[in-house]
Symmetry: C2
């Protein structure tokens, strides 16, 4: 099986797990439940739950305790996209070729569906306490997920990104761009690997080293996004290309040029693979996945 | 000390605790940290952390483990107000006589400050795992808080309320109004008492009975809000009166009339006090508080 087939198999498996944790669309609050499920089932690479589950297995985890966390991290990722697409934010009508949540359900429901997804992520993750009531790692994993999603993680990066966009006259510094990339994309990938490892019984030191790996993957992933925005096509990418230039948005490519950016993606991915292979426990799929992500065209 | 003095003392104490858990306003994401702190320090009755701490003490709790949960529930309450005030929702420029968060920081930051507060609530609550790492009640309390804040709790009520407002031609049914009142106001009060009791070692059965008490308090509180919207003045209430009628919004008062509504507030409060006094453990302050809430004029 080549890596694309392996990924496709895992996406199917992950989506089955996610579906088990989605709310039933019934009752007075049916609309919001539909909007939540619409948002999360609208597709995506499922990269975060994929990295989480694989790291859990890498460290010898075998229980279902990982599943609510896999669903939770995808809910957090999804809510961030739903709110990012809102009229007061990026004002996007389409994502992955489908109408965005607020475009279908209206702006108020877009806001509330995002809120509901974020809350439901934590609600779902706390189901892990019922699967392994005596395992203190569950609390630690939950705290890790919360910190990496919050103002010192994903939301922190998102806020600085939005603020920078609203001040197009101010040139963004390289330091601030690093901050945004590190938090906005990297933090949830760090959470993915860290939570997987913690739940499988890894030490704090191992979890920290894995976060370093994930940070490199996250940065490579984000730079590749910038490259694709310049070099891809609407048909392949499923969204308009050249949007960064149109929005006058400084990216990694603006700072480093296209060639150096490509080199850096390669270098970061290789560093991630090397750091990963320094663990006594090996995981071939994660190594292949990190290399594959450089070659993705969407 | 009369009840108003007792409440004032507790509000001061609660706000000291909340301040300890607020983020420092520094770094690239300074604006959002300011917006979060602005929102949460803009005042309020602090009723939810007050009920939580008192219930914790009622069941013999003595540790600091309750504190991150007290801060967390107020953060959740605050985020719900910040999002409720947004232009796409109620579009309110003022709350408690102060500019609303989006009115000060802009709409995008209003959305993100709400998101950040909700996430930070869970981040803060997970600090309880570090205070009592071996206590399985922490995980149960966290799950309770998450469920009562979510689509089967506060957000669920909020969604149905917003949807009903957007369809002014459809008359709201009494059943739907009950649903909204029960979830939008009641659910977090249930969480407050339930979490306090669980953390102090109460049984599931005791927690469930306390939720019944809190549900009555929440309903009485909400009906009293409707009454004040008809009978109070702008000066006393700090917000325009008659807004429900202006917005053509059906309330408990619309269904039952003002006199019956007043009777029901009294009846619900008395039932709450009676149910509370049926516990072997007594708490005089909670009883006084529930009676006091009927007589509030703002």
């Amino acid at each position: 099986m080549d890596i694309e087939q392996k990924i496709a198999t895992r996406v199917t498996h992950i989506e089955e797990i996610i579906r088990q944790y989605l709310p039933k669309e019934e009752g007075f609050q049916k609309t919001i439940l539909e909007a939540m499920n619409y948002s999360i089932l609208a597709g995506g690479k499922r990269l975060r739950p994929m990295m989480m589950e694989e790291t859990y297995h890498m460290f010898g985890g075998t229980s279902r305790v990982i599943e609510p966390f896999m669903a939770a991290i995808e809910m957090i990722h999804t809510y961030s996209l739903v709110h990012d697409d809102l009229p007061a934010m990026d004002n996007d009508e389409y994502r992955r070729g489908k109408k965005t949540t607020h475009a279908v359900y209206g702006e108020a429901m877009g806001i509330l569906a995002g809120d509901a997804l974020l809350n439901y992520a934590f609600e779902t993750a706390t189901l892990a306490f019922e699967i392994e009531p005596g395992n203190p790692a569950v609390g630690r994993a939950l705290r890790k997920l919360a910190v990496k999603s919050g103002i010192y993680g994903m939301v922190g990066g998102q806020v600085v990104d939005v603020e920078s966009e609203k001040k197009p006259d101010e040139t963004i510094t390289r330091e601030k761009l690093n901050f945004i990339y590190h938090l906005k994309t990297g933090a949830l990938m760090e959470a993915a690997m860290s939570v997987g490892a913690i739940l499988a019984g890894a030490s704090e030191e191992e979890a920290a080293r894995l976060e370093e790996v994930a940070a490199r993957v996250g940065l490579a992933f984000q730079i590749q996004d910038d490259i694709l925005d310049v070099t891809s096509t609407l048909e392949v990418l499923g969204k308009p290309i050249g949007s960064d230039e149109k929005n006058n948005k400084a990216t990694y490519v603006t700072f480093e040029g296209i060639e150096k950016s490509k080199e850096d993606v390669k270098k970061l991915s290789e560093e991630a693979v090397e750091a990963l292979s320094s663990f006594q426990k090996k995981d071939e799929f994660l190594q292949e996945l990190f290399i594959y992500l450089i070659h993705r065209n969407k």
